[in-house]
Symmetry: C2
Subunit: 436 residues, 2 copies
């Protein structure tokens, strides 16, 4: 069965500038089981627009997932709009009500009167428990009529809007239900590259893409995407024969790896910081950081990884010259002669934090993230990255374009990638020595 | 003229898990001039789906903004799909080609052959220069026919997908063109609250909301939204009489401030870290940080603010007991008796970093962000926040629910809010003293 999925995100805030993390989460999870949405539609808390979008989705899709608008407040209208779209009533569900009441009891809070509205289900809907909040989800199994001629089955899921609650209900109830739907098989992998531009990656992989194009249309597809000095290459293969699909994927991955080599830092959910963590653990090495222009971003990303305390010891965010001297032992003379943003300072920062922390490796960053503070000699975007290890410190100079936030992100990516490459090379060297 | 805006984001990656920051940016900018999109639709790099969505948008809207799919690679199909939708040809534009060529010359790079495809414009389109990348934007001014009976004007903008390029073209060419469109007036403000739950905020403001409802329908609208312990309240007023709208907004803001008081930390683009920065500058005070469980997140957020070096001196990210002792002077005995996650340790961390950095105030955090490391006595989510200042250190205990990343975000929000409240109170105290 060729299943068409539509995701609808409800919330006026999503039209007015709020980042939509629910659509990213659902896209990721749904595509992992071949149900990648064909469209994601965002609408405001306006009942007429909601009904119009619901009608179209119900007529065209087999799976409709709606997030948001299930809260207790006056602007939560998803329940009503979907009930009217499907021509059903809303009924008070005793189970839902007692679940909501229990949520408040367990927190020693009196249940506000307005939370009662969350216990209304669309007639015939199945209650999807919400283990982490008050808005339960709902599942309505029906057919597409009266909005389509086809008499196909239709699953409509209503999920709460807050990401944590949406994810909890999705994992507990939606994902298991969807996995049972028989679809054609579609599998994919994504490779991540750092240190090469989008066009350069495109030129390298173009022969592989063209060769596949000449074979069967639509069976293999490639997408490439650049963001903050990182390029993602997603390769998807669809068909009926799972063994054949797996073999194709394995071959394509090898072909891509052959042309892009160590520029590929990871795949799938791997990030520069997770890969670096794995390398540090594998090599039994520890890490410390000295950050100036990135202001804690690199430390934040490294410690986002569960278990990072195994290899990460400390970071000094030295935003002033004073702290560069007292915390890291950068010399007064160095700061005076070369300035805080210089090759010399970044090397002393790397050496200093490595010594203070007693770690095997260290990363240091100093630069001008802007928007102010640039000169013609040292423009906004100038960043020095220092890497130190058993072989001593090395400095790398970059000039990044972009906003303050982008310059910081780009500097962080390159810094993490530089240490990754250093560790890879050291591992290679050791392997070769062993062979001899 | 009642203008309807549709935003369409093109990119298979956006259906497969990639966060869509373009829709947030466009929503924010468009709603600031009363052109909040009625829908945001995300589609993949599939030409047929694109054409279907383009057709609908062209028929229903007055302004259609498409982002993405203008790159140089094989999967960039927006130009073709929109040309076919509008029944026009694609023509090579000499100006566009020379702009693209200049981009590469200025970077000392040979222009890859595939970038030539970016110089094709839809017949009759106006070129929108891209100052920061190779994909120029396009503007097509036409009417809705043949997809609508109404003979209304239609503006179609094609913008590049990379956020920095999209934003640059938007600000240079799209925003000025849109501001000239006459719309009914709609203005709004958003207040941000920390330290109160969504339901509690709703109950407090409900009388204000209900009173407005009884007046004129649709003129005033409220939206409330909770995320990571922060609640946003957006109030919009529309009409024809700008003076009346401004007066209504001023009155409503005052009414909301009267019921929520100092729980409101800011409005609009203000963040906890920007408001805290303003308070520190106003009071001529400096700040240092000692972070354990948040791993640099608080430092990262504080230094996201341009000019933060005025008040922020340094952060110590002490992920090990060893570094808590050596960098911050936390006593061995304290760690032994009470543990690294304790009221006693967090107070010594706050005092320690304040002393080492010589700052007026300090914030410290220690806790268990999970997913592992929790015990029945000290569960995952337990976080202590220390605040120190001229009056000495104070500790605050929290138990947060959520994922590792959410616990860290929530802890950071509360920590920033605690110091904000402390500085507000100190300012209040000083004011009262002066009055006496």
């Amino acid at each position: 069965m060729n299943v068409k999925t539509t995701v609808i995100c409800v919330g006026t805030e999503l039209l007015g500038g709020k980042l939509n993390s629910n659509s990213a989460f659902l896209g990721d999870r749904l595509s992992s089981i071949g149900l990648e949405p064909s469209q994601i539609v965002t609408v405001g808390d306006d009942k007429n627009t909601m009904k119009e979008v619901f009608r179209k989705a119900v007529g065209e899709s087999n799976v409709v997932i709606v997030t948001g608008g299930l809260g207790p407040t006056f602007d939560d209208l998803t329940r009503e709009a979907m009930a009217e779209t499907l021509g059903r009533r809303l009924v008070l569900d005793r189970n839902a009500l007692s679940q909501i009441a229990r949520y408040f009891v367990s927190r020693n809070i009196d249940m506000p009167k307005n939370n009662e509205s969350q216990a209304y289900l669309i007639e015939g809907a199945k209650l999807l428990s919400n283990p982490v909040g008050t808005a339960p989800g709902q599942l309505i199994e029906t057919d597409k009529k009266p909005y389509s001629d086809k008499n196909e089955k239709l699953l409509v899921f209503l999920l709460p809007g807050p990401p944590r609650e949406m994810q909890a209900v999705f994992e507990a109830s939606v994902f298991p239900a969807l996995k049972r739907i028989e679809t054609g098989i579609k599998k994919s992998f994504t490779l991540h590259v750092c240190g090469m531009g989008e066009s350069a990656v495109d030129e390298k992989i173009r022969p592989i893409v063209e060769a596949e194009r000449k074979l069967e249309k639509g069976v293999v597809s490639f997408t490439i995407l650049a963001h903050q000095m990182i390029v993602d290459i997603k390769t998807s293969v669809s068909g009926e024969d799972e063994l054949l699909i797996d073999e194709t994927l394995t071959n394509l991955k090898q072909e891509l790896r052959d042309v892009l080599k160590e520029n590929i830092y990871g795949e799938g959910r791997q990030t520069l910081e997770s890969v670096l963590g794995e390398l540090l653990i594998k090599n039994k090495k520890t890490l410390s950081l000295a950050e100036s222009c990135t202001g804690g971003l690199v430390a934040h990303r490294i410690t986002n990884i569960p278990g990072s305390s195994l290899y990460f010891k400390q970071a000094a965010v030295t935003y002033s010259n004073e702290s560069k001297k007292t915390l890291l032992g950068v010399k007064e003379a160095t700061l005076k002669e070369f300035g805080a943003v210089s090759e010399e300072t970044v090397m002393e920062m790397a050496e200093g934090v490595k010594k203070v922390s007693g770690t095997d490796y260290s990363i240091s960053l100093t630069g001008i993230a802007g928007p102010a503070g640039g000169t013609s000699e040292k423009p906004v975007g100038l960043v020095f990255v220092g890497i130190s290890g058993p072989e001593g410190p090395q400095a790398h100079k970059f000039i990044f374009s972009g906003s303050r936030i982008e310059i910081r992100e780009r500097a962080a990516n390159f810094a993490l990638d530089l240490l990754r490459r250093r560790l890879l090379n050291n591992t290679e060297v050791r392997k070769q020595k062993k062979k001899k």
